[in-house]
Every structure is written in structure tokens, then in C-alpha cells.
Symmetry: C2
Subunit: 890 residues, 2 copies
């Protein structure tokens, strides 16, 4: 028979801290504390396997569970010296959920279980406190009714309020034992009336139904939402812990409290906690009474008159402090602890890893290395890479009030305030007056780059986490909230509405790109500060990791930011971003509108010196580091003007009529631009464009090579290749341009020509393509789009449904889909390496900055990841963790 029940308490346990998958976090730690000989109220854990069986069996507990529960109950009784259901010496238990991952408050709890009309009297005489016993009973009835029978707690609160009013009482403390007895009677009637059955007097029935109810709460709406938000699989299930009750509300020698072994906000090495005398656990959390500080020091800092636990119960405090140290040494991490003092005796109720701010996490990790408690490698594992983002961007002052008018996707982290503007021209104009702006658009396009640069933050009503706005904003380090569906934008009237509120051009709003919130007015922000702990940890990460980390950058500003954040090169320079500059766009448009190759070449000649200067600056900033430059990728229609003003301006320069421009735009319009005339397809139709770009790269490389007396080796990347012949066609031309530049300038160029792998066909034919490609860079944005057949610009509306309905666990544009895209990457890596051993392999999609995806990159053995400049530190840490994980797995 499967072992479904694991006992703990009284100095030994059947489980250990390692058994979290089976026992849940709480159960495993209760077992561990028992094994450490700490005072833990005896109890047992019903495993997560029972949860699985429960749901597989139409929400019924396995029949055989009862026997194991009975045996475990007897063991609790023996340890506690009481008997479940006994009239004079009744054992009371709590029934609590406890999953593999912490989901605080999301599931249900039943306390004081075992009370009935008879045992309540036993408890009364046992405790010598009938008021306590009847109060406990009424709490139990209410909890049971709510958790097991699904009744609304308002019914009970109402009864209590009416009773208090009738009796002229104000506070619960005004009620005595007899009052509570009457209340209990009313509660039981209420259960029978509204719950449809009598309140059960049989403690065994109370228990089995409560266990089932707590398992049932795994799938309540709150828990599901929480799991979705925190990526916790439903399949994990929860365990249920049944434990002897201890009471912190049995008089002034009783107390209850929570504590951290170090300060969770700052990481400082001081005990940090609160307690209440004569209270139950929920009272501390509920905030009705103001809790006191545990330590004298804490009290002093708070300037409180109430005594600390250290002062009030010095012996209990001494034991508690000893437990703190023991647990921290044992777990080698900050612990978040719950305890209860029952009539002078300390009981440890829970210990778990303490949640902390990123700043604290860094300090704790670094301190613990210095204390010799953990290794540097362990320290690296203690920091959630994503959490570093908090440190790299301005954040909203947590103390400040927020008037949230809409929420969307947290598309690019950080917070910013500014005047609302509705187009990029206004953004630039207002910003040039020294005012801060938030650019509000339905969605953004490459034409908005200058406006996004000028803005402090970006808000869009459409588009997902990988929409244009989101990707570009992350690249620039601008906060962005995208896909705010509830915002309705009216460009014509220059205003938007959200929650019935109208916001006009010029109004101030604040956006929090870390949380996806939009607020009215200016909310104060805190500037980031990269502490010494941060840089020490980063150094350790760099020592450990195998994967190189590069950045996706094209502007000098981005390149400098990337280098400052530790990027080891540029993995993706998107040359088209350089085309949108106000000075250049007209020449780009002229090129597009030219009727023939000659016309295009004339326009390209004007672009050449500008593009060359771009590359000179990039090579200078990144000197000594590799720079991968992707040739023009987007379809040409993205560059054409839309507004009448822009069209008129262009017509003046080119001598064309607005009709001509519109005709050409119509000719170039595409049904599915993502799958259209772009990438190398443009280069093949108009080789002169790529030739100009190649020339600009080579001339810049020669210039900077001479300047620094060190050869710049550019990596020229051809986008959207599906077949080797496409690459060959273009590589031949690039090599020819190189030969020409060499002979013109009398120089010797060093360069590589490689390709994006961003189409399934390219991955499948990587062996073939690797014969010509000197490197691969996995463009996982487009590879995800094509592998799944999902346009990321259009995905938000149905991917949300998918996640809600449990069809997929994570947005594949955010975290690399190993099962689909990952298979193609593996195939391409294997075939590519077989055809060209030592071929350089990297990733430059958005996934390059996602820790889970970086872990995948490590497992398939890529050489580097490339990500937004602001994600470089995250990637450095994630790469170190990935290396350690895969090493441990070997």
C-alpha cells in the first residue's frame, strides 16, 4: 500500500526537508524541524499524491486513507498526551494546506478541529478557561461551515453583530463564556438552516471532510489565479498538514509571533519579527492589534513603549534565538518562522525560506559567503535573475499612493511619469522643451523609434509582451505597459479613456512597467543604485558561467549601456533602426520609391556615409569585442510615410506626387508582412541595398582598425534565410564588396558571414546552410512565430485564453518553448556542428534575456546569448546558474 501519511513531532519525523514534492514545503519543514529536535506540535502530513488521487477520483479521498490517518492521529495523541474526541482530555488539531511552492493565503485552513458539544467542555476544564473553549468552538464552527460546507462567513458575522448589539457589547472581548455558548448555538442552527445539514459532532467526520475540503481548495479561483501568475503547475497538487493545536491565546503567558532571521528588506543580520501576547496567529497578520517587536533593538528603533519578547519572556526569547540560529545554520538561508508560546512553552509552527527584496537577497547571499555559511556557487543560486531588474530601473516609491486607472502587461520594467502625448512627433517636440512625456499609442511601429527614445515611457493599448513596443522599450530600457485593453485611444481628439476617466494630451500619468500599471498623476520614483554586493555577485557569476553574454544594440547609447552592464559584444545590431533617423528616412524613402536600380543606388549613396559613421561609433565603443550586424530585415513598406504631412515632405524632395507615393505604398502593402518580402528576400531582390550596407561595415571596420591598430572583425548576419542558396547568393556579393574595399583602401579585412536561424526550414537544413554560414544566431522571436504559426502582434487575445484555460503554461514568446522551438534549435545545433565543427552559435531573440531560456541555451551548448542591454546582468547571472545546474545534473 502506498504510504500516504507521514508523521512528525516529538523529536523525530518520517519526512525530511528534501521531500517537498511529496510533503509540500510546510510539511517537509515541520518534519525537518522535528528531526532537528525543535519543539513542534506533533502532527502528520497527507501527501500531494493523495491530492492527485483526489482529483483523479472525482474529488473523493482514497478509501484506504482512513486507516493511515487513524494511526497517525493516535501517534499525535500519544505525543501530546491527549486523545482525539476524548470527552475530558480532547486532542484538537489544525488542518492546513501546504504545496510544493508557497501560496500564502490562497487555500483553506481549519483550526480547533475536534471540538463538539462534549469535547468543548473537556477543553474548558482542561484549560480552566470556559470562555476560551467556547470561543474556540465558535471559531471552529464558522471555519468548518465556510471551508467544508462552502457557506458565506457573512452569515456568521451578522449573527455575532446582532447578538452584540442586542447585548450592548462593542468588542468581542466584551463577550464571556456564556455569550459564546449562545453564539455557538446560533451558529449551529445557521449551519443546519443554510448549509443544509447539521454541524457534525463526530470528530472523525470533521477531520476527513476537512482534509477533503482543503485538497479541494487547491483548485479554487484564487489559487488558480495565483498559480497562473507564478507559473505553478496545477499538476503539482498540495499536501495537507494535520497538527495538534497549540494556543497562543491561553493567557498572558501565551503569545504568538512571526520572525525573520535577518531583515528581509535590507538583508541586515538582525532578528526581525513581531509578536502578540495572548493571541492567535491570525491576529498578528490581521493587523487589528498592533504587534510588538521581538528584539529590544527593534523596539528601540521603532520607539515603541510595548516591551519586546526579549524583555517580556527572556527565556522563551533565548530559546527562540537559539532556534533561529540553528535553523539558519541548518538551512543556510534566512528563515521566515512562525511560533506560538502556550502557557510559557515555545512551539515552532513553521519555518521556510524568507521572502526578501532583491537588495536584501544580494546582501544575504554575499554576507553568507563571507560568513562561510555558503559557497559562492550557492550564493549565485540564491538570487532570482529576473529580480535584478528591480535594481536596474527606477521604481515607484512603495510608500507612495497609486491611483491605478488601468492595468496591462508589464512589458518593460521600471517606472516613469510624464505628459501624455499621442504621437512620436509630439513626443520629440515636448521632450526637446525639457518636459517629460509618456507616449501613448494603440501600437507602435518602427517609425515611432524616435518618439520612444524621446519619451520616458510607453503605453500601448494593443500588443503582447513581445510586441514592437515591448521589445523596443526593453531594448532602450524605457518602461512600457502594453496591451492595456481597457484603454480606448482616440487619436483624432487626442485623449484616451480608462475606467470611465478621460485623460487628455498634456495630462500627467505614471506607468509602472514592472507591474503593468497605469496611474493618474505623478507618483514619486526611487532611482536605482547598484551596490557593492551586486557587483561582487556579478563577478562570481562571470567566473562561473560558460555562456558569453552579448547585447542587442544599435545606438551608441545602447552600446555604451550594454558595455557598462557587462556585455561581451553585440549579438544583434538591427541596421534598420538606423534608417529611421530623421536625417535619413527621406533617403531611405527615396530609395524605396526609385523606379529602378540606378535610382536606388543614388539614394543608397546618400545613406552610405551615415551608415558608415554608425558602424564607426559602434566599433569604437565595442572595441575588442565582437559585433554582429544584421543587414536590413523589415519589409520596405514599414519605411514609407503615412501622414499627409510626411507624404508632402517626401514629395517635395523626390518630385513625386502624393498619388505616386500612395500607389507605391499600396503596391508594397502585404497581407502578412511577417511572412512577406523582408530579410534576405529584400537583399536578393535589391542586392544594392545589402551591398551598400556591407560597404559601410567594411569601410568602418577598416577605419577603426587603423585608429586602434587592432583589426575589427565584423560579423555580418543575413536574416530570414530558409535555404543555403539564399545565403550563397548574398555572401558572394558581400565577399565581392570586401574585395573591392580592400583594393580601394589597400587594407586587409577580417569578417565573418553568418545567418539568423529563424525559420523552421533553416533549422531543418542547418547542415546545408552551415557549409556557407560561419555562424548561426537563433532568432527565436521569428522562429517561435513560424514554429507555432502565431503572430506575436496578434497573439495577446488568444494566448491569454490559452493560459487561463491551462492549454499552455507560459507564453512561448516570453520563455522559449522547449518542446517545439527547442527541438528545432537542437536539430540545428547538431546538424550545424556536424557540418562545420566549431561554428559559433548564439541566440538573439527576446529569449536571450530570459533565465529559463538561457538554461536551455546552456543545455544545448550555445556559445552566447544576446539580449537587451538592461537584461545583460540578468543574463550573466542566469548563465552562471544554468552552468551550475547542468554541472550538477551531470
Amino acid at each position: 500500500m502506498t504510504k500516504w501519511v507521514y508523521s512528525f513531532g516529538a523529536g523525530h519525523a518520517e519526512g525530511t526537508a528534501e521531500m517537498k514534492d511529496l510533503l509540500g514545503g510546510k510539511g517537509a519543514n515541520l518534519a525537518e524541524m522535528s528531526n532537528l529536535d525543535l519543539q513542534v506540535p506533533p502532527g502528520f502530513t497527507v501527501t500531494t499524491e493523495v491530492c492527485t488521487a483526489f482529483y483523479a477520483n472525482d474529488r473523493k479521498l482514497p478509501a484506504a486513507l482512513g486507516i493511515q490517518v487513524d494511526a497517525a492521529l493516535a501517534q499525535i495523541g500519544a505525543a501530546a498526551g491527549r486523545t482525539f474526541g476524548d470527552e475530558t482530555n480532547p486532542l484538537l488539531v489544525s488542518v492546513r494546506s501546504g504545496g510544493r511552492a508557497s501560496m500564502p493565503g490562497m487555500m483553506d485552513t481549519v483550526l480547533n478541529l475536534g471540538l463538539n458539544d462534549v469535547t468543548v467542555e473537556g477543553l474548558a476544564s482542561l484549560s480552566g478557561d470556559p470562555r476560551f473553549a467556547w470561543d474556540s468552538y465558535r471559531r471552529f464552527v464558522q471555519m468548518y461551515a465556510s471551508v467544508v460546507l462552502g457557506m458565506d462567513h457573512h452569515s456568521f458575522e451578522e449573527l455575532l453583530d446582532i447578538y452584540k448589539e442586542e447585548q450592548g457589547h462593542t468588542f468581542d472581548t466584551d463577550l464571556d463564556a456564556d455569550d459564546w455558548k449562545i453564539i455557538v448555538g446560533q451558529y449551529k442552527e445557521c449551519v443546519e438552516r443554510e448549509g443544509g445539514e447539521a454541524f457534525p459532532q463526530d470528530p472523525a467526520e470533521q477531520l476527513s471532510r476537512s482534509i477533503a475540503a482543503v485538497f479541494g481548495s487547491w483548485r479554487n479561483a484564487r489559487a488558480e489565479t495565483y498559480r497562473n501568475l507564478h507559473n505553478i503547475p496545477e499538476s503539482w497538487g498540495t499536501a495537507v498538514n494535520v497538527q495538534a493545536m497549540v494556543f497562543g491565546n491561553m493567557g498572558d503567558d501565551s503569545a504568538t509571533g512571526v520572525a525573520f532571521t535577518r531583515n528581509p528588506a535590507t538583508g541586515e543580520r538582525v532578528y526581525y519579527g513581531e509578536y502578540l501576547v495572548n493571541a492567535q496567529g491570525e491576529d498578528v497578520v490581521a493587523g487589528i492589534r498592533t504587534p510588538r517587536q521581538i528584539t529590544k533593538k527593534g523596539r528601540a528603533e521603532q520607539g515603541s513603549a510595548d516591551p519586546s519578547l526579549e524583555e517580556l519572556m527572556p527565556e522563551v526569547y533565548a530559546e527562540l534565538a537559539e532556534n533561529f540560529d540553528k535553523l539558519e545554520r541548518h538551512y543556510k538561508d534566512v528563515q521566515d518562522i512562525e511560533f506560538t508560546v502556550q502557557q510559557g512553552r515555545l512551539w515552532m509552527l513553521q519555518t521556510r525560506g524568507g521572502k526578501r527584496t532583491t537588495k536584501a537577497a544580494l546582501k544575504v547571499a554575499v554576507d553568507m559567503v563571507d560568513e562561510g555559511l555558503i559557497t559562492k556557487e550557492e550564493a549565485l543560486g540564491r538570487i532570482e535573475p529576473e529580480s535584478l531588474d528591480q535594481l536596474l530601473h527606477p521604481t515607484l516609491d512603495p510608500a507612495a499612493e497609486r491611483t491605478i486607472i488601468a492595468t496591462g502587461l508589464p512589458a518593460s520594467p521600471g517606472a516613469a511619469s510624464g505628459e501624455v502625448v499621442f504621437n512620436s512627433e509630439d513626443a520629440e517636440r515636448v521632450a526637446s522643451d525639457g518636459r517629460k512625456v509618456i507616449l501613448v499609442r494603440i501600437e507602435t511601429s518602427p517609425e515611432d523609434i524616435h518618439g520612444m527614445h524621446a519619451a520616458q515611457g510607453i503605453l500601448t493599448s494593443r500588443g503582447g509582451m513581445t510586441s514592437h513596443a515591448a521589445v523596443v522599450a526593453r531594448g532602450m530600457g524605457r518602461p512600457c505597459v502594453s496591451g492595456v485593453g481597457s484603454v480606448r485611444i482616440d487619436y483624432a481628439r487626442e485623449r484616451f479613456t480608462a475606467m470611465g476617466q478621460e485623460v487628455k494630451k498634456g495630462d500627467i500619468i505614471t506607468i509602472d512597467g514592472t507591474r503593468g500599471q497605469v496611474m493618474l498623476g505623478k507618483v514619486p520614483t526611487i532611482q536605482p543604485e547598484l551596490s557593492g554586493d551586486f557587483s561582487r555577485l556579478m563577478e562570481w557569476a562571470d567566473d562561473v558561467r560558460r555562456l558569453k553574454v552579448r547585447a542587442n544594440a544599435e545606438t551608441p547609447l545602447d552600446a555604451r549601456t550594454a558595455r557598462d552592464f557587462g556585455a561581451e559584444g553585440i549579438g544583434l545590431c538591427r541596421t534598420e533602426h538606423m534608417f529611421f533617423d530623421a536625417e535619413r528616412i527621406t533617403s531611405v524613402q527615396e530609395m524605396i520609391l526609385a523606379g529602378d536600380e540606378d535610382g536606388r543606388r543614388q539614394a543608397l549613396d546618400k545613406l552610405l556615409p551615415m551608415q558608415r559613421q554608425d558602424f564607426v561609433e559602434l566599433f569604437e565603443i565595442m572595441r575588442g569585442l565582437p559585433v554582429t550586424i544584421r543587414l536590413l530585415d523589415p519589409p520596405l513598406h514599414e519605411f514609407l510615410p503615412h501622414s499627409d504631412d510626411e507624404i508632402d515632405k517626401l514629395c517635395k524632395v523626390t518630385g513625386l506626387t502624393p498619388g505616386d507615393v500612395r500607389d507605391r505604398a499600396r503596391d508594397l502593402a502585404e497581407t502578412n508582412p511577417m511572412l512577406g518580402h523582408r530579410g534576405c528576400r529584400l537583399g536578393i531582390s535589391h542586392p544594392e541595398i545589402y551591398e551598400m550596407q556591407a560597404r559601410a561595415i567594411f569601410e568602418a571596420a577598416d577605419h577603426v582598425s587603423k585608429e586602434f591598430k587592432k583589426t575589427v572583425e565584423a560579423e555580418i548576419m543575413i536574416p530570414l534565410v530558409a535555404d543555403k542558396s539564399e545565403l550563397d547568393y548574398l555572401k558572394d556579393r558581400i565577399v565581392a564588396v570586401a574585395a573591392l574595399v580592400e583594393s580601394e583602401r589597400g587594407c586587409k579585412l577580417a569578417f565573418k558571414v553568418g545567418t539568423m536561424i529563424e525559420l523552421p526550414r533553416a533549422a531543418l537544413n542547418a547542415d546545408d546552410i552551415a557549409q556557407s554560414a560561419e555562424f548561426f544566431s537563433f532568432g527565436t522571436n521569428d522562429l517561435t512565430q513560424t514554429t507555432w504559426g502565431i503572430s506575436r502582434d496578434d497573439a495577446a487575445r488568444f494566448l491569454t485564453d490559452y493560459i487561463k484555460k491551462g492549454i499552455i503554461e507560459r507564453d512561448p514568446f516570453v520563455s522559449l518553448d522547449r518542446q517545439g522551438v527547442g527541438q528545432l534549435i537542437k536539430i540545428a545545433v547538431e546538424k550545424g556542428r556536424a557540418a562545420r565543427p566549431g561554428i559559433k552559435l548564439g541566440i538573439c531573440g527576446e529569449h536571450g534575456g530570459d533565465p529559463a531560456s538561457i538554461d536551455f541555451c546552456e543545455t544545448v551548448g550555445l556559445d552566447y546569448v544576446s539580449c537587451s542591454p538592461f537584461r545583460v546582468p540578468i543574463a550573466r547571472l542566469a548563465a552562471a546558474q544554468a552552468f551550475l545546474t547542468s554541472k550538477n545534473q551531470l
Copy 2:
């Protein structure tokens, strides 16, 4: 050393007919005729490998070739009793191209080579005809100058015209030997003046430079175009044949002619050919003199006064007829033969498989089986499956004049004439008056289905071979010319222009969808007639093939056509096509515009009986055969109205405002609809749509099962699945609907639920998906789009460049891309069969009707192909050929 030269003639040869790849078709057949002991002028073939070496070596012949050529020349001389370059007894040779596939007239030829100022005198005394000798010499100079030196032949024609004018001559025949001698002098001066070098007197130089020039003509513009049109790879190269000259213009006992061993137009078993007395080969082709019939019977039928060869040279004719029979028996096929009679002696110059009409090909194949010449299997291999298309559609009368005003892609075969209309409403209205219309659109969308149905043919200015217009037109059997870029359509003024010509609404045009031509006015057509030969051959194909052939059909008309053409079921019923019906579209739109699920359900309730009736009809027509029904696939915005009229109409029904409708349309608009909210994604967001469709299917299946007392087993197909969980989510609901229908109607339903495999991710995870899917149907249209990252709606503009530049050989939407899409299909077949042995596998993309793709389907072992009704016969034959091919390969 590589053998580069293969001799033939004089009763033996180094090559055989099997060596076409090396010797080209012409060379291999000359060798074969020599081996058969037919009189062939001695000669040798320079192999296609030399062609490859020539291009690899910067258009230079391999140095070592000369020795082999010299040896072979000596052999020719020995056989002919002449010596190359000899003053008194000169050997003259021809230099002709000859590739693996016939490319008539595309490459260059040099005749009379070996003549110079000295040997011309030798030829004069040898032939006793100085005029003939000098005429031959001037022809040679001109040909050499044109082919080797690249001079324009006009220069020479001009000189000749001037000379004739000066001398008062009208015809070439007026000139005598001395005249020609003067002309030769002038020609040689012209060569020196304009060609930049003296005409070479050394026959060895003449020969080697001519061989190089003929190899060089493999890549001239005409040849490239021809290869592109006929899918002949450039890599094949051509061979070059050097052969002793024989002269059909050496007097009245000389002649030259061409003949077929059977009538190439009808297939009738009669010799069929033409000849000219005292003429060279090109004279027969050039059409300056009217050729005579070879047979008495032919002359009688033509009513000609000129004697036939049979009558004029009975001995030569007898030998020729004997050769015809010998060759036909040997090659077991109709031969196309060239011959020359030199002073009474018959020389065989060429034999090759005779090109013939499809009708003739069928008759010849079937007759030859009856004659015991070939097997039924061989007969099946004789018919190009694609060519059957000619028989299945009306074709333009070949005798009729065509005023072509534009050409586009041959998107759907057949020809039709009618009044031009520019929208589907007009198409329907005019057609309902009993008039014929051609629907002219920039491109079509699903809303045009009714207009396309009403029209005789469709013309679009945009879109490729697999655009919406092309796919739907092929499905309906309507002729279509798509992507006619030179046509500029002005919807507002209801006219289009092509080649400066304006065509207004109501003007009559004719389109030829087989050739992609657009013509002014009505061109008479010939109706198809499926002869007995056709049906006999089809029966043989059915006996042989393993692959089943189904049709893509949804209307009763299409289903009936499919069944008549031999379809063995429906492989793809696109339910959305049923939504565009005028009666229904409003309900569909109501559903889309409904604010919530209830509203959608109300609209769906109205659609249910109509959709059920659709399926009843389909099941009735296809009874006994499987029917695969795909649930709703396209994005909802495709169903919304666009014109103000349509919007107003909808608003009247729904009570919405036009603004609401436009808002909703804007909400639903997508950047890349192909990758958007469609397929199973719709079913998951709005399960009620698929539930209605499932119910309609089940109720119809039950109805027809009862009607025919035979269970209808529907195959329900979920589109655009990327992950098993999507299929599971929907399958659960479909199964639930089935259970409901069973209990409501007291019936037992039989059905399968399967999925399209049309996304790379689905193919890669086919093992997983096969756990839930009971069948797979490869949707290779979308699979090609996603594997390549190419939108077929936008592909035309760059795929044309690709094919022109040799980057790809064939449009992957027309013929399945084995290297990319094929890899995914193989993976899916293997994984799918491993997970669910016996899983039913089919293909329902456009490729299902493409013979090369069907061959692939055979090799990977699919169970069936499904194609447009009109392609069913093609697929049946192609499936038989594929089976035979793979059997031979085993």
C-alpha cells in the same frame, strides 16, 4: 583521363540510348541508331561533363579535349572517306547542341564547318557544283560569325540585299557561284571589320571555337527562359554533337524531311511527315517552301498535287518506313525523326520520342498495350498526369486568333469568355440574367466565393499560384489567371488597363487559365470529351495504385464532380465556405458581433439547421465513402462586411450602429491574419462555435445513417493545432456533444476526431498529438507558409525573383518542398505511427493534386491524397506512377 568524346556512325557506337545524361538526348539516340545499324552520318558527341567543366573553368574547354576530338575526327573521316581540312576531299561537319531534355531551337548550331578559301574549291569539284560549294561557304561564314563571334546576322543580310539590288536579283536562287564568291568576300570583310578579327581559315580552330560557342549557348537568355519554363536544371548542361555533313540540297535526287511514326495530334497509327526535294533541314522548318507529304495517303488527305516521297522515291521511302518500324519497335514509342536524302542515299539524322497531344498520348499508350508493344504499367508511365488537365476543361480552339492583352500565372486551367465585372455582387447579378461573366479583382477573399461561383472565370492582378483566387478557382474548376501585374484595376471607375488598352465593365474578354493569357473579345472554345482511352487508362491506374485519392469539396456540386472523377471520399470539407452563403452570412456576422457567449449561441442556433443540411447532402452524395470535415478555420474578421451597403444591411438586422460594426472590425483586424486568431484558437476562445458544428455533423450523420441503413462515420478535423492540449480541449467538447446527441436521438454515432498537421510544431510533436488524434491530414499550404516563413498571398513578387535567379527551382506552394516541408512530414509520419500504429494519414493541401508531391506522399507512405475535384484524375494517375516508381526503386 576522363572520356569526353563518344563516337558513333558506320554501324557501331560508343554510346547507347541509356546514356542521355552524359550524351544528351540527340547524341544518345544517334549512338543508338548506329547500334541498330541504321545509316547515320558518322560523328561524335562531346559530353555534358565537358559542359560542366567549361563553366567551372571560366568558359574554357579542357585542354585535354583537343586530342580526343582529333582522334574522333579521324574516325569520322575514315567512315566518310574524307579528311577534315583536306584541299581536295574535305570533310565538313555540323556542330549541334543536344541536352538531356529537348530544348528545340534554344541553343546554337554551326553547319558546313571545315570550309575555308581552299576547301571550298575542293567541295566545288567534289560535288561538281561550285554554286552549292560557295553558297555553303557563305552560310558557314554567317553562322560562324553569329554563333562564335556574336555578330548580328542583320549585317550579313543587309550586304546580301544590297548586292542583289545592285545586280538586279530578286531571289537567292538568282545568284550563281560567282555571285556567292563575291558575297563570301564581302562577308569575310564584314567579319574582320565588325567582328574584330579575320575569319579563321584553320578548320581545327573553327571547330574548337564552335564547340565552345555551342556550350556557351547553354546559358543564353532564351535557353534560360526555356529552362525556367520547363523546370530544366541549369546544372544538367548540354552535350555537343559533331557530325559529318550530309546535304539534302545536292540536286533533285536529294531531299530532307521530318516525320512521326504515328499521327502526333490524334495518335492514329499512320506515318505522318513532310519533306522537301533539294533542300536543307532548316528549309522544312522555316516554312518558306511548302513541304510535301511523305505518304500517298497523307497527300490524298491533303489534296495536294505534289508527289509524296512514297511516290517520288519509292526505294528511299521503303527503307525509311522500315526504319520507322524498327525504331518504334525498338524504342516502344512514337518517334519524331529527321532524315536527309543525299543523292539518293538515305541518312538518319535524329530520332526522339515524338511530342504529342494528350489525346494522342492516351491513344498511343492504349493502342501499344493492345498491340502487345508495352505493358499496362508502361502505358501508365507514358502519360504526363498534368497533361490530363487539358482533357478535363474547355480549351481555346487552337485555330482561333488570340489578341493577347496581358499574361499572368496559369492559376486554374481551362478557358472562358464573358463580360468583365469588378465585384462579386455584379457577377451574381449579371450571371442570374443568363449572361456569362469574368470576375476581375485585384485579389479575392472568402467573401467573393459566390461571385466566383457565378463567374465563368476569374482574373486577378495580384496573388500567386496558391493565392485565394487560384486555390478556390481550381477547387471549383473555374479557369483563373492570377497575378497579372500589368493589369491596373480601377474599381471606382469600373475599368482596367492593360498594355495601354482600357477595358470597361461589360466588355467581353477571354481568359486562358492553362496558359495564363488574357484576350480581348470572345475566343471560341472546345468542350472536353473524355474518350474511351481515358477511362481505360484510368482503370489501369486504379488497379495499380496504393494511395487513395479523395477530393477537397464542400458544395454538393463539387462533391458530385469529385465522385464523377473517381474521388474515393472527401479529404477536406472547409466548413467556412458554407458560411458565406447569402442566407447565412448575416447570422455568421451576428454571431461575431455578439457581445457575449449567449449572443453567439443565439446566432449559432440559427446556423445549426443550415449547416446540418449541408452535411446531410454531403453524406448522401458521398455515401459509403469517408468524409473529413474541418471545423471553422479562418479568422472571424474575414466574415465581416466591408462596404457601406453591407454594413447598413447588417445594422438593420442586429440593431447595431455602423460605428459598432466598424469598431468590432477594427478590434478583430490583425497584422498577420495567417498567424492570427484562427483555426482551433477560435474553437478554444469560443467553444460554442465548434460545438454547433459538431452537433450539425452528428445530427446529419445520424439522419443519413438511418436513411441508408448504413452508419456514416464522419471524420472531424481540428485545424491549426500546435499542441496536444489544444486538441484535447476541443475533442473533449466534441465527444460531449456526441454523447448529448446520442442520448437525445437514441442513436449510436461513429466518428473520428483528428487534426491537421499544418504547423512545424505539430509535426515535431506528432507523437504527442497522435495520442489524441485518430488521423492526421497534412495541410501543406500552411505548413509550407510556416516552414518557409512565406505568406503565399505575398510571395509572388519575390518568388519570381528567386526562380529567375536560380535560388529555388520550383515554387514550394506548387510542388512540395521535400527538403524542408518534406522533412517535417517524414518526422510526423514516423512519430505519429510510432505513437498510434495504423493512424490514418493524408494530405489535403494544394500539393495533393501535384504529381511530384504525390510521388513524395507515396514514398513516405501516406494513406491518401486529397485535391480539387478537377485534379482527381491527375492524382489517380500520378499515384499509380508513384507506386510503380517506388516499386522499381525497391
